[in-house]
Amino acid sequence: MGRAWVFGDNVSTDHIIPGRYNITTDPKELAKHVFEYTRPEFAKKVAAGDVVVAGGNFGCGSSREHAVIALKECDVYVIAKTYGWIFKRNCVNNGLLPRQFEGSTDITGIRDQDEVVLNQVTNTLDDLTRNMSLSLRPIPRFLLEIQRAGSLMAYINTNKGYRKLR
């Protein structure tokens, strides 16, 4: 169980972590500044199990991975309607699952700081405050394999390259 942190459309990697902090790759340092300009209270109040709920094109913009490193360190789930293409790959490659709402889902009912649970059995995000459930897209097995390995490096080390797709 955690709280929902609700964001709109087109949240860029610069919104997630301002460019000036890209001089470090230390996860703890980056996590201190996550959403610093857009949601200054986020870094202080976020707790493990909280859920970042975003609209379309989450993580658009620059290809740098600091944004993913920072979010992963916060130990949050990330669920968006859609993602920036590079950001989505960066999430998978760094062991953070980029979950997605089903295409037609209306997410406007979820309000910031609602009590939410990511239900892995029903594959839904359950909003306990509003007593509603939003369905999520299933995760393709290939992405799950990389994420479960912990990182793309670990996946490649274990499998000695990419496993043949079945």
């Binding site: 290809s63 991975e65 393709p140 080390n157 390259g161």
Partner: protein
């Protein structure tokens, strides 16, 4: 029933449903994205660097303007020296160099640690922009994974009237699609207007696909059989009649905030920049020189011109364009590179500055102060604006 992108993926790789593993012919990265890739590469246990496929270019902050930039370049330079990797320093912008040096060709699959890597689609390559982890994984395996994307088709027809350049065509489709209009999709380009353009003239059209959130873009290429099946399915189709266009401009602070130049004429500017991977080729410098020839830029405007590569510079020198620029009072800068586009050096914008730039992005803070404003337009509009000191329709000078 395959699009061009599906055909290329199926021709080269192993596809299973929505996913494919494809070989990678070239792996490009630059001074900003390579340090993290080097760090990631160290995590591989049994290293197998695909040395011959790596191309590393110092173009973003070259030569380094700070100790931090110099330290990063030192780390990468040592890595290149140790492994005998191709390194270009100050010879030009990575994307223009890749095409100019023939490092990418039709049918190739190329990845790059830069969000504008998709531009290699102008020569018929499948090119993907990636983060540093992906780049390191390509160095190690020579392969990459991808979700097979859908395609949007953009067909450009008609003869562009005087004053309308490839950048205007690009802004026309960015305006129609919007900054997330091509999300999770590839843009495929075709049409008589684009077929007539050489790869360098196509660059602004290809580059701006990134600004619509496109996975990548590719131009159809009949000679290399890069054309779709007759019954290929496109998720969206856009037709642009270039004969009906007029000079366009993207206003602050989003590339899809597009208006006609006429609508914003008269806006005072503090800086004009002509250059970048988007508009720094010899074609662009010729257009700018044709307008600046025999004229002076406004005394109070900082006009900066930077060629995309060293060979563009050499050509401009031979054609007398550099002489024209210097006589006009513009600042002609070397080395060839990204220049002020990324807001780190060679023309950083101050608070309240207004800049007309031939680059690709105008998000807040992109070229310096978050309180600066950036307009994006063609080199013709930029050169005309430099003369008047305010935004002006270039047709007045053509």
């Amino acid at each position: 029933m395959s699009t061009v992108i599906e055909k290329l993926i199926e021709r080269r790789g192993a596809r299973q449903g929505d996913f494919a593993i494809v070989p990678v012919d070239k792996i490009m990265s630059h001074d900003q994205t390579t340090p993290l890739a080097v760090e990631a590469f160290e995590k591989f246990e049994a290293k197998s660097l695909k040395r011959d496929r790596l191309v590393i270019v110092f173009d973003h902050i070259v030569p380094p303007s700070s100790i931090e930039a110099a330290d990063n370049q030192r780390l990468v330079r040592d890595f290149c020296r140790k492994h005998g990797i191709t390194l270009f320093q100050g010879e030009g912008i990575c994307h223009t160099l890749m095409i100019e040096k023939g490092l990418v060709k039709a049918g190739d699959i190329v990845v790059g640690g830069d969000s504008h890597t998709p531009v290699y689609g102008v020569v018929g390559a499948l090119a993907l922009g990636m983060g540093s982890t992906d780049i390191a994984a390509c160095w190690q395996t020579g392969e990459t994974w991808l979700e097979v994307p859908e395609s949007i088709l953009i067909r450009v027809v008609g003869e562009p009237p005087t004053g309308v350049f490839p950048k205007d065509i690009a802004l026309a489709y960015v305006h129609k699609l919007g900054i997330s209009g091509s999300q999770d999709a590839v843009i495929e380009f075709t049409g008589e207007t684009l077929e007539r353009l050489d790869p360098y003239e196509r660059m602004p059209v290809g580059i701006m696909a990134t600004e619509c959130g496109a996975v990548t873009e590719i131009f159809w290429n009949k000679e290399r059989n890069l054309i779709p099946d007759r019954d290929a399915e496109y998720c969206d189709t856009l037709e642009i009649d270039s004969s009906r266009l007029e000079p366009l401009i993207a206003c602050p602070h989003k590339p899809d905030n597009v208006k006609t130049v006429r609508e914003v004429e008269g806006r005072d500017v503090d800086q004009v920049f002509i250059g970048s991977c988007t508009n720094g080729t010899i074609h662009d410098l010729r257009v700018a020189a044709s307008i600046l020839n025999g004229r002076r830029v406004d005394r109070y405007v900082r006009t900066i011109i930077i060629p995309a590569t060293a060979s563009v510079y050499r050509q401009a020198l031979q054609e007398g364009l550099v002489e024209t620029f210097l006589r006009s009072g513009a600042i002609f800068c070397l080395p060839a590179g990204c220049g002020p586009c990324i807001g780190r050096h060679m023309g950083v914008l101050g608070s309240g500055d207004v800049c007309l730039s031939t680059t690709n992005r105008n998000y807040q803070g992109r070229m310096g102060s978050p309180k600066a404003e950036v307009y994006l337009a063609s080199p013709a509009t930029a050169a005309a604006t430099a003369i008047d000191g305010k935004i002006v329709d270039p047709r007045r000078y053509l």
